[in-house]
Symmetry: C2
Subunit: 454 residues, 2 copies
C-alpha cells in the first residue's frame, strides 16, 4: 500500500480524485463538513443539475464510472431560445450530431462517485468534519465533529483541498499558510434563484427535453435543464439591484407580474413559482482566482477551491474533473519515487492559465446567453458555424473547442475561438443570411488563423 | 459631546482621522495592536521614510499640524539618476520651483499625529489591543490585551478600520461581514529590503540631500531618501527569484559582488551593507483592492485597509490622508443629524475610482522608475514637460497632476496624464533633443486634449 493522501471536501472533485488515487494504490482519507448526502437530504439552493461534457467525461473514464454515469444523463443538443412573444428558435451546440452536452443531477453524480469510492477498501470518508485549522509546518490539521463537537488534531502527508468556492483550505493559505498569496474573489452584480417546471399530469416533460432552454432578456435571463424525473430545473439569473432586480421583487404580486411580463410561455407550466420563490435562496455568483495552489509537497488546492467560475459556460464541474485527469496523468509519469513538490508545482503551472481562461470565458458567455443569442448577426454566425462543423470535420467553433475538444487546453481554445469569432462576426455582419457564404473560402481563412497560432 | 467613534489602528491614517473627528467634537476611541511607539521602538522593516506631497499636506491642514510637520521634512526637488558608470543626471519633479515632494520620517509623523491627538481630551488611545472578532449584527468587537492576554467584548456605534494593508477589519468583511465582498490582493514578483547611507564623519550628508536618488537597473532598482539626521534610507527593490534576485543573494560574497557590480558609487558610502542585509527583513509588495468599504452605518474601512498600493508613486500615505480630507468634507455637509449610512456610502463611491487609479498608477510607475528614467526618449519627454510647466502655469505633467494638483482627483489625473504621455512620447520619439520643440504649438495641442476630457 502506498502513502496516505488526505482530501478535504467530498464534493464532485474530491470524490472523483479519491477514486483515481485509490485505483493507483494510495490510501485516501476524505474529510467532509456536511453529512453523508446518501443518508440525509442535501441543502437546497445549490445547482440541482449541471452540464456534463467531454472534458468531464474523459476524467470519469479514469475512474471507470463513465458508462454508469452516462446512463443517467439527458443529452441536450442545443439551446432553445424563447422570445417574449412565444416564438422559439433552436441553436444547435454543434454542426456534428455526436457533439452535445448532458444534463446530469449534481447529487446523483456525487453519490455515484462516493459509492464507487467505497468499493475501495483503501478509501475512508469522514463526514460532519469541519476543518478548523491547518498547520503546514507541523503537517497537522484540526477537525471538529459537527455532531459530537469533539475536536481532533490529525497529521497529514499530503493534503489536497477540494472544498469548493468557499474553501477553508484556501483561506488558510491566505491567512498565513502562503507568504505571498495572490487572490481575488469577484462577485457578479447578478445572482440566481432556482425554480422548477414539474412533470405534466401524465408524468411527461412539459417542454422539449433534449435542449437547454434559454429566455434571454438582456439584463437578466432564465434557463431550464431537463431532469430524469421529467421535471426541469429552472434558474433565473438576475441583477440584485435595479427596477427588475431581485431586491425589487419583494411581493408575490411583483414576482407574478415579472414572470407574466417576461416569461409568459414558461409561467403556464410553473404552477409553484411563488412557493419556490420563497423556499429557495437567492444565491450569488463569484469568480475566484488565486496562486500559488501548492505549498511545497504539503498541500494543493484544486477544483473550485482554486478556480471557482460563474456557471455560464457549463464548465465549472468539467474543469474540476479535468484537474483530476491532469493530476492523474502527471502522477503516472513517476515510476516509483514520487517527487510531490515537483508534481504539485507542475500541476499548478499546467493548469493555472487554463482555469484562468475558462473563468474569463464564463464571464463573457453570460453576455452571450442573456443577450447575444437574440442578436440576428450572432444567429447567422451560429448558423455559419454549424454549417462549417458539418462540412469540415476539423473545424470547431469557439463553443465546440471549449466544450467538445478535450484534447485542446482551455487557454488555446479561448485564443483560437476568439480569433475565429472576430473573423466570423465581421463576415456575418455584412450578410443577410448564412446562405450567401462561400464556405470553402471561409474555411481556408479559418485554417490560416489556426496555423497562425501554432 | 457628540457620538463615540471607534477607530481600529493608530497608524498614520487612524491618528490623523482621530484628530479630525475630535476637532469636530466626536468622542474617539483608538485601538492599536502594537505598543505605543512613543515608548517602545517600532519594529524594523517598515519603510522608515515616506514622500509627503500636496494631497497629504492638505489633509494635515485640517488637523492644524501642517506647519509643525513641514518643519521636519527634507524637500526633494527631483530624481537624481545614477548610472552604473557613476554619471548622474537630475530629473526635476516639476518645471516650477514651488512644486516638490518631501522626505518625512514615518515614525516621527505618526508620533506627531498621536501627540496632537492627545491634546484632545475626547480622544483615547488603547495600545496592545488586538482585535479578534467583530460582530456587525450586535455591533460588538472582541479585543485581546497582548500583554495581560485579557479578552474584552466592547460595543461600538460606528467602527472605522484604518488597520493597514493586512487589515483584520477587512478580513472580517471577507469572512462573513459582507455578503458579496469583492476583494483582491496581488503581490509583485519583487520585494524590498531597507539599507542605509549613514552620515559622514563630520555629520554631513554623504550625497546630494534635496533629491530622491535612483539607481535604475531595469530588472531591479535602488533608491535613497534623505533623513533629518543626515543619513539616507536606502531601499533595494528586487525580484525574489532569478539570477540576481533576493533568493539567490544567499552569501555575503554574493551580496557584495552584486552591489559592487551594479551600485559601485553607492557601495563606497554604505559601510554596513552586510549587517543591514542580515538585520533587515526582505518584505513583499502588494496591491489590495476591495468593495464595498462600508457596512451600512456600522463600519467603514479606509486607507491601506481598503486600498493598499505599491510605493512607486510615493502616494500611499497621501492617498490615505486624502481619504481623511474627503471624509471630513462629507461630514461637514451635515448640520445636525448625520446620516451615517449615506455618509459612508457617499465616501466609498467618491473614493473608489480614485484609489483604484492611484493603485494602477503606482504599478505603472515601477517600470518608469527602474527602467524608463534611463531611456533617452523618456528623458527628452521629461525635459519638454519641465519646459512646458515653467512656461505655462496651467500645464501639469502626469507626475505633477498626481503629485501636486490635490484639487484634481486621481482618476482624472490618471486619464489626462496618460493622454498627455501618449502625445508627448509620440512627439519626443522623433526628436533629437528638447530644443527642437515648438512649445506654443504643443501647449495648444495639450489644452485640446484636456478639453476633450471635460
Amino acid at each position: 500500500m502506498k502513502k496516505k493522501i488526505t482530501i478535504i471536501g467530498a464534493g464532485l472533485a474530491g470524490s472523483l480524485l479519491a477514486v483515481i488515487l485509490a485505483k493507483k494504490g494510495f490510501k485516501v482519507d476524505v474529510f467532509e463538513r456536511r453529512p453523508d448526502m446518501r443518508k440525509e437530504s442535501i441543502s437546497a439552493g445549490r445547482s440541482i443539475n449541471l452540464a456534463l461534457s467531454d472534458r468531464g467525461i474523459e476524467a470519469l473514464k479514469l475512474a471507470g464510472i463513465d458508462d454508469f454515469v452516462l446512463k443517467q444523463v439527458i443529452p441536450m443538443k442545443g439551446r432553445l431560445i424563447h422570445s417574449v412573444d412565444g416564438t422559439k428558435k433552436i441553436q444547435p451546440y454543434s454542426g456534428r450530431d455526436k457533439e452535445y452536452i448532458n444534463s446530469v443531477s449534481r447529487g446523483g453524480l456525487n453519490i455515484a462517485l462516493m459509492n464507487k469510492a467505497e468499493e475501495y477498501p483503501n478509501i475512508n470518508f469522514y463526514f460532519n468534519q469541519r476543518v478548523l485549522k491547518i498547520d503546514y509546518n507541523k503537517k497537522t490539521f484540526k477537525v471538529k465533529n459537527e455532531n459530537s463537537k469533539e475536536i481532533q488534531e490529525l497529521v497529514f502527508n499530503h493534503l489536497i483541498g477540494t472544498d469548493g468556492a468557499g474553501s477553508v483550505v484556501r483561506l488558510s493559505y491566505q491567512t498565513g499558510g502562503v507568504k505571498r498569496f495572490n487572490f481575488s474573489q469577484d462577485f457578479l452584480s447578478h445572482g440566481y434563484k432556482e425554480l422548477a417546471i414539474p412533470p405534466g399530469p401524465d408524468n411527461e416533460f412539459q417542454a422539449e427535453s433534449n435542449v437547454l432552454h434559454i429566455w434571454p432578456r438582456h439584463d437578466f435571463m432564465m434557463i431550464a435543464l431537463p431532469n430524469l424525473d421529467k421535471s426541469f430545473t429552472v434558474t433565473l439569473f438576475n441583477r440584485f439591484d435595479g427596477n427588475t432586480g431581485f431586491d425589487s421583487l419583494d411581493t408575490n404580486e411583483k414576482v407574478e407580474d415579472f414572470f407574466n411580463k417576461y416569461f409568459p410561455d414558461a409561467v403556464s407550466v410553473m404552477p409553484n413559482i411563488i412557493d419556490d420563490w420563497h423556499e429557495n435562496p437567492t444565491s450569488s455568483l463569484a469568480t475566484v482566482k488565486c496562486f500559488p495552489w501548492a505549498i511545497e509537497d504539503k498541500a494543493l488546492i484544486f477544483g473550485d477551491a482554486s478556480h471557482a467560475v460563474v456557471p455560464f459556460y457549463g464548465q465549472g464541474m468539467n474543469a474540476s474533473f479535468e484537474d483530476c485527469r491532469v493530476f492523474s496523468e502527471l502522477l503516472d509519469e513517476y515510476d516509483n519515487e514520487i517527487d510531490w513538490e515537483e508534481l504539485f508545482d507542475k500541476f499548478q503551472n499546467l493548469r493555472k492559465e487554463n482555469t484562468d481562461a475558462i473563468a474569463d470565458l464564463a464571464i463573457q458567455n453570460y453576455a452571450e446567453m442573456r443577450s447575444h443569442v437574440a442578436n440576428p448577426v450572432f444567429q447567422i454566425k451560429r448558423q455559419v458555424e454549424m454549417e462549417l462543423e458539418s462540412k469540415y470535420e476539423d473545424f470547431s467553433s469557439k463553443y465546440s473547442l471549449v466544450t467538445f475538444r478535450d484534447e485542446i487546453p482551455y487557454s488555446k481554445a479561448k485564443k483560437l475561438g476568439e480569433l475565429q469569432d472576430d473573423y466570423l462576426m465581421k463576415i456575418c455582419s455584412n450578410l443577410g443570411s448564412a446562405e450567401e457564404i462561400d464556405y470553402d473560402l471561409v474555411y481556408t481563412e479559418l485554417k490560416k488563423i489556426e496555423e497562425s497560432l501554432d
